[in-house]
């Protein structure tokens, strides 16, 4: 009995140590630095609330957090619709397992390249003299280039959807594959239409996958800075860019304070999401 508990501690120790050193300690450091002060060229240890006071009283902070949430919400809706449809098609319309695996791998091929490359390749496509504009113009659809195609909220969200849809497809596909096919037969036998089966049988059973995909997508979009920077031509702000600007000009304490607030926001968001589905039980 005694021996068992020692083994238990030993088994838990490696992971706990790794998490302690690489996750808890850095976050603790960020929290500590967020109370420090900064000059033009240095940071100095202190315990002051200046950074938080400025952050929480500035309406820029609220606008930027709102913008970040807006990106997350729109990206979530679109990736969910596309991701669910793709997963549904793969899970229920493709009959043979070989084809399912083949098509699933096909979905992952774009992910063999760097995500920065995938994002940046949109720029020449959407640009003022890009392929999209020149095609539309030669077809006579438009007379002059559409400016909003690039360096706009549109291009930012397009890139997000492109980058993160697979993170929705994978978990949803995974849960869909576990659905007992006889449940769907039973629904059909009981006279349910296709839509009713989808709404009352498949969606409730897919919820854990949707939730995991949601967490992936929301967490990535909330923490992003590079997509927003490149695709908006540095003209739009989200929280990550605010932190990046601070760091670029050596304002580490205020960057840390922003990071702490962002962390709390994302944790609250995910905590709320987890209230809807008990992932542990469902898995």
């Amino acid at each position: 009995m005694r021996n068992n508990s020692v083994i238990g501690w030993l088994l838990a120790a490696p992971l706990s140590l790794v998490l302690l050193v690489f996750l808890v300690a850095p976050i603790a450091m960020i929290v500590v630095v967020s109370f420090w002060g900064a000059t033009e060229w240095s940071i100095y240890p202190a315990f002051q609330f200046d950074n938080y006071e400025f952050l929480l009283t500035s309406d820029v902070t609220y606008r930027v957090f709102f913008n970040t949430l807006k990106y997350a919400a729109i990206t979530w809706v679109i990736t969910l619709l596309i991701g669910f449809t793709v997963a549904y098609y793969l899970a229920f319309h493709i009959r043979s397992l070989t084809w399912q695996i083949a098509l699933f791998l096909l979905c992952t091929i774009p992910f063999l390249t760097s995500n920065i490359i995938r994002m940046i390749s949109w720029i020449p496509f959407l640009g003022r003299n890009g392929i999209a504009n020149s095609t539309l113009m030669s077809m006579g659809v438009i007379d002059e280039p559409l400016e909003w195609l690039l360096f706009s909220d549109f291009s930012v969200i397009l890139a997000f959807v492109h980058l993160y849809t697979l993170f929705m497809v994978v978990p949803i596909f995974n849960t869909m594959m576990r659905i007992d096919k006889s449940l769907i037969e039973a629904a059909a036998d009981a006279g349910a239409t296709g839509w009713q089966t989808l709404w009352h049988v498949i969606i409730p059973l897919t919820k854990p996958g949707i939730m995991i995909g949601t967490i992936f997508v929301v967490a990535q979009v909330m923490g992003d800075f590079i997509t927003v920077r490149f695709m908006s031509g540095s003209q739009s702000a989200n929280v990550g860019r605010m932190i990046q600007n601070d760091i670029g000009l050596l304002q580490y304490p205020s960057a840390s304070a922003t990071a702490v607030i962002l962390l709390i926001t994302v944790l609250l968001l995910i905590g709320t999401l987890l209230r809807f589905v008990d992932i542990r039980r469902e898995l």
Partner: protein, 192 residues
């Protein structure tokens, strides 16, 4: 700049941004080159080598000296206080090599000036020195550091000679006393 000056400047910027003046802001060298080369923007603030990079692609691109003067920036090499013995000697040796002319010649063919222009002269042809430093008409082809032709005979550098250009600097890029305030206002500007 004082806080009031920062407010005034970014106030003008914000108004222009809302009116759709800006297409994009760049942070890296290649971004500024691509923005200009793709025709995404038609006027922007650029570094000298970025201009030479655009011109080397065969796309005309010129500096337009402003009535108010130039905005300049400079860089130098510093020694760390923790250096001693062999490392210190090596660092000095590196600086001596850096200032001995080859690097200066390379930089000057990109349109920069070296801290010790005289040594760079030994690594540039008379025509190059005349074009880049003295503001004289080019006698033959002027190439960038990689050998690509940028200017033909007869071309003159914008703004003229070293003394004309550096004598007309209106402001220097620097980290300001109100750095923290400036970052906050910049974030506000980006969010606007």
């Amino acid at each position: 700049m004082t806080k009031e000056e920062i407010d005034l400047t970014l106030g003008i910027f914000t108004e222009a941004k809302k009116a759709g003046q800006f297409r994009a802001f760049w942070k890296s060298f290649d971004e500024s080159v691509n923005l200009m080369a793709s025709g995404e923007v038609v006027i922007q603030s650029m570094w000298s080598p970025a201009i030479t990079a655009v011109r080397s692609q065969g796309i005309p691109c010129v500096y337009q000296p402003l009535e108010e003067g130039y905005r300049s920036w400079g860089g130098g090499i510093g020694l760390s206080a923790s250096l001693s013995g062999m490392e210190l000697d090596a660092a000095y040796e590196y600086i001596n090599w850096y200032l001995s002319g080859w690097v200066g010649g390379f930089l000057m063919r990109q349109g920069y000036y070296s801290a010790v222009p005289e040594t760079s002269k030994n690594f540039m042809s008379e025509d190059e020195w005349g074009f880049w430093f003295e503001g004289k008409e080019a006698q033959g082809d002027i190439t960038n550091p990689f050998g690509d032709v940028m200017e033909k005979a007869g071309a003159v550098r914008d703004g003229g000679s070293f003394y004309d250009r550096m004598g007309a600097v209106a402001c220097w890029n620097a980290v300001m006393d109100e750095n923290q305030y400036m970052v906050r206002k910049w974030n506000e500007f980006i969010a606007a």
